[in-house]
């Protein structure tokens, strides 16, 4: 395996972890305002992701920085090309981050209402935009022979991309609701479980439509052979299984299934892209690939040594923090937000 291929794999791995982990805290942030009937209940929902969301988000930052370092052209083309989309996403992430911290600082209903909205907007916009972005990775975007992407923001919002956005938002909501069932108990847990099953038909339908459109409009699911259609099928199958398990109150397994759904979905997109990193609609000669967009071997080698040493430690202590806060939230004394 070439080093640039290894780095494609590592970046795909970071994005996958970002979608899985931040996916549920996006979901929780989206539903908390509606699922919690009073301030105490909302706080319980927000506290369920309290110790985790910040570190989850670092997977995005690390993925972005890794792109910058390992594939400067990918980083430059993507972030300058999807400019306005990233402006909206960053505004949302900024708003959301401070909202978690600020919400509980003043005990006034209007204050809390404002930050509840900030948390909602900040949690619903990023998964939507990531859905849009992922779809555009699949369809390709106009990239000229100088590796520059041309065209504006609205061009990214074609119907298939909007479907991708809606699908991914719904998926995060269900994933988040399943997470809530693991961190709460009693009435609050039950409400999340019921809400999850209400969302289930919509998300199943959206994912099915998305996979069908992807198969019809792009080569992503079949670029390495038709056998790889198994991945989107696995994503849909596990989502269905999650719905059934949720009905049977098998919460852990149900959460595991939505986790696999997101992994399979992300994997199918990145595998389908490979060896391309960005597809050009202006001809395959303009595609950015792991070979023509990457850094030099020396730089990749240095980063490989360092990253492959660090990542196990990161996974270990991040995993440990989940273990520390494994208990379900009960009583007011465990709430910090």
């Amino acid at each position: 395996m070439e080093l640039s291929e290894l780095w494609f794999l590592l970046i795909a791995f970071m994005f996958t972890l970002f979608f899985v982990l931040e996916g549920f805290d996006f979901g929780v942030g989206t539903v908390a305002k509606y699922l919690g009937r009073d301030d105490y209940e909302k706080r319980v929902y927000l506290n369920s992701i309290g110790p985790f969301w910040d570190a989850n988000e670092v997977w995005l930052i690390s993925a972005g920085a890794a792109m910058f370092a390992a594939f400067p052209h990918w980083y430059a083309t993507l972030f300058s090309g999807f400019y306005i989309a990233f402006v909206f996403m960053l505004l949302a992430l900024i708003l959301r981050g401070v909202a978690f911290e600020f919400r509980g600082k003043v005990d006034h209903p209007v204050w809390k209402q404002v930050w509840d909205w900030a948390i909602f907007i900040g949690s619903v916009v990023p998964p939507f935009l990531w859905g849009v972005a992922l779809t555009n990775f699949m369809t390709g975007v106009p990239i000229d022979q100088h590796k520059e992407m041309i065209g504006g923001f609205l061009q990214l919002l074609h119907p298939f991309a909007l479907l991708g956005g809606v699908m991914f938002t719904l998926l995060c909501i269900v994933h988040g609701l399943q997470f809530i069932t693991l961190r709460t108990e009693g009435e609050l847990q039950e409400r999340a479980r019921v809400a999850s099953s209400r969302f289930a038909p919509a998300v199943l339908l959206a994912l099915l439509a998305f996979a069908a459109a992807g198969l019809w409009k792009t080569d992503i699911f079949t670029s390495h052979g038709t056998g790889w259609i198994a991945l989107p099928l696995l994503a849909w199958g596990t989502l269905l299984l999650s719905t059934i398990l949720n009905k049977k109150k098998r919460n852990r397994l149900s959460f595991l299934m939505t986790t696999i759904t997101i992994i399979a979905l992300t994997a199918s997109v990145f595998i389908g892209l490979f060896p391309r990193v960005m597809i050009s609609t202006l001809g395959a000669a303009n595609d950015l690939t792991v070979y023509n967009a990457s850094s030099g071997d020396y730089s990749l080698k240095v980063m490989s040594y360092i990253s492959l040493t660090l990542i196990p430690f990161v996974l270990a202590y991040q995993g440990w923090s989940y273990y520390v806060f494994r208990e379900r939230l009960k009583g007011k004394d465990q709430l910090e937000y």
Binding site: V58, G64, F68, S80, S299, V302, M303, S321
Partner: protein, 468 residues
């Protein structure tokens, strides 16, 4: 409007804003870690209260610092894609390592610290705040590794029109990094410490929770003084170093058009006309510039006109003189702020050792205003160093005007500039409101273990602190 101009405004404004919060986070983390360590050693509840009170301020600050940092990470690709393509190979790895090594540590252990008071063994909980501090320090180190490359590019070669790394160790041993890192780090410690000292002084003036705030003052004034000494000392080394690597920046900082006399006097203030390239009405200290530059009472410093000639020969025609007035006045403001900080620190340490804080209300009042000094010093320091490098984005390698994204329109940059400025203004307002509120409330009482506490107030016990 010109997209280059807008992109520069956006980078400057978002970075300056971000950097109001970053040094305070680093400095407060150190102060809190020390307070909690004292609590751990002595078991004195006063120190726990102290840790929690300053911890609340830290968390408000940390939140804004973290979220504004996300933009920093992606702004290179958005507005400066040509730069990103050109240097990603050398510049990117530091950022990637910063993410994996520093950001994960900060964010994971801040979660454990905030939510882990009752969940973690005391030792592990104490370790968490130290690891948060360690994470912030590592973050400073790696981002400065990247920044030092822009000032003094090392460890790379040209390959197919891009800069490619060929010596990672050279990046880590970049002399620029080793004068810049301690300067930045200790000024961050001083920022947090002056903040704690200033707020404590205000509380002492108000005669509220005297015991706790006098102790806070005492701890923070020591950190403030020691840090400021290091900052000034290293700052001097940095100036000496600059003279060899970026003489233009130092000449601009002195508004020195022609070569200086030997020995060279230091210009304290002057009237600068960059269009006619003259500096008049100087007030000077004889010998001082020679001393600052070479650590001796003789030595000539090259002027901007001479250096401009060298650069034209070396890099081709062009204007290599940075905005002189900005660099000159930023430098003076920074040095002035640092000097006042040192005087206040030493005097404050003396007064607090003799336990005479309350008897010095005027000094206490000055300390409240002195909170602003490190912020001013940090900001103008960065303005001096970044503006002083112009017209280069990577010194001698790439000009700022060639670094911008070619496919991003002025309209797009303007839209993002207005959106982020608006949001940042709101954040600043809210953060200040929350600081003031938290300060006014003061430290909350720890959960009282009286028997009838639940009977008094069954709904909201007193454990709410500032959280709700």
């Amino acid at each position: 409007m010109d997209p280059l101009f807008l992109a520069r405004i956006q980078f400057a404004s978002t970075t300056i804003f971000h950097y109001l919060f970053v040094p305070m986070s680093i400095g407060l983390a150190l102060t809190i870690a020390i307070m909690q360590t004292i609590y751990h050693r002595t078991g004195d509840e006063k120190y726990k209260k102290m840790t929690k009170f300053w911890g609340t301020m830290f968390l408000i600050n940390f939140a804004v610092g973290v979220v504004t940092g996300i933009l920093q990470e992606f702004q290179f690709g958005m507005n400066w894609s040509t730069y990103s393509r050109f240097v990603g190979d050398v510049f990117g790895p530091s950022l990637a390592i910063e993410g994996l090594l520093a950001f994960f540590m900060e964010s994971t252990f801040i979660g454990l610290w905030v939510f882990g008071w009752d969940r973690l063994p005391k030792r592990v909980h104490l370790l968490s705040i130290w690891l948060v501090l360690f994470g912030t320090v590592l973050s400073a180190f790696w981002i400065l590794t990247a920044n030092s490359f822009m000032h003094h590019p090392v460890g790379f070669e040209y390959f197919e029109g891009r800069a490619q790394m060929n010596d990672f160790l050279a990046l880590l041993t970049n002399p620029q990094l080793w004068v810049q890192f301690p300067h930045v780090l200790f000024s961050a410690f001083a920022t947090g410490a002056f903040f704690v000292a200033g707020i404590s002084a205000w509380k002492i003036l108000k005669k509220q929770q005297l015991d706790m705030f006098k102790k806070s003052f005492q701890i923070s004034i020591i950190i403030a003084t020691v840090s400021t000494v290091v900052v000034l000392f290293v700052g001097h080394q940095q100036a000496v170093h600059l003279l060899t690597t970026q003489p233009m920046k130092m000449a601009a900082a002195e508004a020195l058009w022609e070569d200086s006399a030997d020995p060279a006097p230091f210009t304290v203030v002057a009237k600068i006309n960059p269009y006619e390239k003259t500096t008049t009405n100087e007030i000077q200290i004889p010998y001082m510039l020679s001393v600052l530059s070479f650590n001796k009472f003789s030595g000539q410093v090259e002027g901007m006109n001479t250096i401009q000639k060298h650069y034209e020969e070396k890099y081709g025609p062009g204007n290599y003189i940075p905005p002189v007035r900005t660099v000159f006045w930023s430098f003076r403001t920074m040095v002035f702020a640092g000097t006042i900080m040192l005087l206040l620190g030493v005097y404050g340490w003396f007064v607090s050792r003799r336990n005479k804080l309350e008897q010095n209300p005027l000094f206490m009042k000055v300390m409240v205003y002195a909170i602003a000094l490190p912020f001013i010093g940090n900001t103008v320091g960065w303005i001096m160093t970044e503006m002083g490098r112009q017209p280069w984005v990577v010194f001698g390698v790439m000009k700022t005007e060639d670094a911008v994204s070619p496919n991003v329109t002025a309209g797009q940059v303007l839209f993002s500039l207005i959106s982020f400025s608006t949001l940042y203004a709101i954040l600043a307002g809210v953060a200040v409101y929350l600081y003031v509120r938290t300060i006014k409330q003061g430290a909350f009482q720890e959960k009282t273990v009286e028997v009838d506490v639940d009977a008094v107030d069954p709904s909201g016990r007193e454990d709410d602190y500032i959280w709700n």
